[in-house]
Every structure is written in C-alpha cells, then in structure tokens.
Symmetry: C2
Amino acid sequence: MTSTPTLDILGIGNAIVDVLARAEDSFLAAHAMAKGGMALIGAEQAEAIYQVMGPGVESSGGSAGNTCAVAAALGARVGFLGKVADDGLGQVFAHDIRAAGVAFPTPPLPAATAPTARCLILVSPDGQRTMNTFLGACVHFSEADLDAAAIAGAKVTYMEGYLFDPPAAVSAFYAAARMAHAAGRQVAISLSDAFCVHRHRDAFRRFVRDEADILFANESELLALYETDDWAAAEALVRAEVKLACLTRSAQGSVIVSGAETHQVAAVPTQVVDTTGAGDAYAAGFLAAYTKGLGLAEAGRWGSVAAAEVISHFGARPQADLKALVAG
Amino acid sequence: MTSTPTLDILGIGNAIVDVLARAEDSFLAAHAMAKGGMALIGAEQAEAIYQVMGPGVESSGGSAGNTCAVAAALGARVGFLGKVADDGLGQVFAHDIRAAGVAFPTPPLPAATAPTARCLILVSPDGQRTMNTFLGACVHFSEADLDAAAIAGAKVTYMEGYLFDPPAAVSAFYAAARMAHAAGRQVAISLSDAFCVHRHRDAFRRFVRDEADILFANESELLALYETDDWAAAEALVRAEVKLACLTRSAQGSVIVSGAETHQVAAVPTQVVDTTGAGDAYAAGFLAAYTKGLGLAEAGRWGSVAAAEVISHFGARPQADLKALVAG
C-alpha cells in the first residue's frame, strides 16, 4: 500500500549552469564539434572553448533540472536532486530552481573539491544547439545524496540518461529506482542524447527493460538504443519492453505507445529560436499532466505546448505563462 | 595636431553583470522599488532581493559596457575601461566584452577586496525594467585605471553618468575628459538615469557645460538636469550649453540638436520585450555612425535601429546582425 504522495515528480540529474552563445556552423566545424550533440569535456577544454566562443548568457540548465522547472511552472509539485558546488554558479543554480518552485535539498560540494558543472552551448543560426559539458561537481553525486523520503513520496521519479556519464551517479540511479518501486511509485527515464546512448548502450538497455515504467526518447536516441535504422522495429521493441513510452519526433510531434494503445500527438507550430531543452520541456508537460491524472493524449498535448514555448526563445526554461498556454 | 586615431570609441563605465528576472508590478510595490528606475543597494540588500526574485538569466551589462558591445557589433573600433573583481562574475564580464570585439585592458580587483558588481533587474510584463545595483568592485575604479594611450587615441571618449555614483570614479571621469581634450578628441556623456541626475545634479551641470562635446539624455533625464517641466526650455538650454545633444524620447524617436541644426529622428517600430539597454544601444548606434563620418540624421537612424533590436528581446546586448540591420 502506498502512502499519500508528497510530490508529483522528483527529478534526479546533473546540476548544470548553461552558457549560451550564438555560433556559425563554421565555428562548430573549426572546433570539431558534432552539431546537435553533447560532448563531455574536461576543465581545461572548457576553459579553452570559453575563450574562443562569443558573448554568453548564463542560465540554469541540466536536462532533469529543466524538466523540473517546467513541470513546476505547470503546477506540479516537484523536487530535484543534483550536485552543485558551493561557488558562484552553484548559488545561481540553487537560486533559480528554488525560485521556480522546486524543492532542492541536495547539499553543495565544497568549492575546493570541484566547481559547479557548466555546459557551453553553441546555438546555430537554425536554432540547433551543440553542447560541451564539463561535469565538475556532478561526478560527486552519489547514493548518499538520495533523499529516500522524497523518492518514496513522489508519484514519478524521473532521471536523465546523462546520469550514466558520472560513474557514482549510476549506482545512485539504480538505488533510486529500487526505492521508488519499493514505495509503489513509478520510474521514468529520458535517454537524453544518442551519443550518450552509444556510450552506455548496455546499461541503458538493461535499465529500460528492467526498471523504467516510462521512457522518453527522441528518434535518434531510440534508434541508437536498439541499434537499428528501422523506426517500426524500434517502436515494436519499446512497446514490448516498457509500459509507457513517449517518442518525440521534432516537428512531426510525438507518438505515445503503451501496450496496445498508440497516440499520435501533433507538435505545436512555433518559430524555432533555440531548441535547447525541447525534450526536457516535453517530458515536463507530459509528466505534469500524467501525474494530475489526465489521459495519455492530453498529457502528450501538454508536452507539445511546453516544448513549443521553450524552443521559441533563447534558453531552456519557460518565459511565458505555461498554465495559461495549456489551458488555452 | 592630433595623431591617427586607434579607436573610434573608448567607453568608461561601471562593469556590471546583470541578473534579469520577470516580475509583476505587485512584486515591485511589495519591495518598495520605483518602477523604471535604478536604485543603489548594498551587499546585504542585494542578497535579500536575490533570495526573493524569480529564476534569473545572467549576462554582462553596465551602461557604457552595453554601448561598447553594440558599437563593436556595428563595426566600430572600441575599447572599454571598468573595474571587475577576479571572481566568477568578473570572468564572465571580461569574457563577454572581449568576445564582443572590445579591448578591455583594466586589471581586475582581488576578489577578497570586493566582488564584481551586479544589477538585479526586474522586467515587468510591459517590458519596463527596474534595476537594483550593487556596485561592488566598481567603487575601486580610479584615475590609476585610466589608459592614457587609449584615451588619447580614441575619437570619442564616452562616459556613463552612473560613474558619478562611485566617488573615486568622478575624479577619474574628469581626468579622462582632460586627457581626451588635450589630445584633441571629443568627450561624450550619457546622463544614464533621472534619479542619478537628481543625486548629482550640480556635478552633472558642470560637466555637461564645461567638458561634454556630446550629450545623450532621455526626456526625464534632461528635465531633471535643468529642473524644469518645460521640454522646449530644456532643449534651448542644452542647445546653448553643448555642441551636440542627442535627446531620446522612447517611441517618439529622438531629437538631435547642434547649434542651429535640429534633426527629428523616427523610432524604429518593434515589439517591446525588455527595454533594458535601449539608451545604451541608441548611443552606440549614433557614435558608431558619427565616428565613421556619417551625418547627424543618419547617425540618429543607426541609433534607432540599434535600440529597436535591443528592446525586441530579453537582455541589453545585441542578438541579431546589426550591420545588416543598419544597411537594410
């Protein structure tokens, strides 16, 4: 028997501050960056890229962090677990996520151990973002940072696939899933990025099959997971392995598959300025509606509305009144 | 006889990182903030306001700093003098202004002395911004930071009126004007803010009359300077006292007065998202064209184009290709 939930969504992820700058595709080519992807970089490389990139705008990011902020803006009760350092960027991250209405209990790492993570994001003229992530303090997130009461009290514990990159986080990831299931709750995961899936395919396959109740993936991530070019085959596999999967397809909207059910959800047309956070916002919209008890198609619509808002401006967190947008 | 200029514009100002957040007018009222104005705050007050304000976006700001970044985007050769601390925000400011193509030779203050200045900016639903500035390291800017060669080599030395707030900067301000004039160059000043004019009216009056070759002011600033409600009277006074004055009037465009000449310049219509930096961008556009040798009316048009771009999005520095916009 499960107790009364105290949270709708508990997100766990890398606590990152984004530094966004515009860049031509020639800049990406000159610095050997794979357009649209996320590369992990070290402290020195982060410094070198920062030196050559254009004027930046700093704002809190992180995949699950973005999802939490968007879900809170939609009225969900949300918590977040992730590791910042006790430094300037760490204070920025903590302020922003709390100001968004998200509970954030994880204690910061001493600044001398490692600095707060940052993601250097180059936004191309077509709105695509190319990310370079220095994980810093995030690699120190571990099982000790799991808030057992928060996990047991959350309807859905949502984890970003990027957590497979810092090794200590992986065991925390599994421990969190066990805690959630022991409390009769659901576990959701976002595959995050096709390159991340390639880096950790076996671990992803096992987690998706054995632990995930809800899966979020875009087209390239799903194809990477099942090592296929055949969308229908991938969809059939995910339908067999996961209770509920939300598969996003950019301008083609999303497909929600759950057992015998299939829902095609249209994208909400918008002027694309910066795609940073599109998938995060979709997951937020979906989960905010889903944990409120709305149907799968309506939850998909909330996801589309939230994603459209976030890609219509620079930055991954909402600027408009999302509650009004989903009501409208 | 003057030597060949090495810079078109040398800006001197407070080196500030902006933290922008949206806020309802009721928030401003509850915290006794004068909508549309700039208040100076101490370190503790800065912390208290930051705790209660919404999720923020950090980007480099400062009035003259913004002007320099916009002028460089328009192709002018630009330098900037201002004081940051050797801390995280100081690195952000230095990176951003240099990445914008602006020379920035001022050495940073040790972080233990004072932190980099920040401006907590609340943006109202109508796009107006209300600023709370903690000057931090800026109060340590002094004559010792003046780069004599840069000043002597710049066609125009441009100073923001906000420099009248930190006392050591005021003497630097006068020293810079003397250096510029001794080298046969021009001195420009922006009045910055009506409240700032009220705080330092006598000093402003004296500087405008005795030192300024070019004055930038908006309507409320000019009326505050001459302690009048009569626009025609203020315009007559400024025409008599300053060789060249650019008077901005928001949506009514600007009036450029110079001796017997008067140019009415239309504003460029745009969707107002955030007025932060409108005056800074106007001055940048005007000075970039003026130092290129273009006429006063054309320089005013560049000012209008630059201001329209900056108020059409969140943040005070340009996002679009300004060279294309003034050519278009």
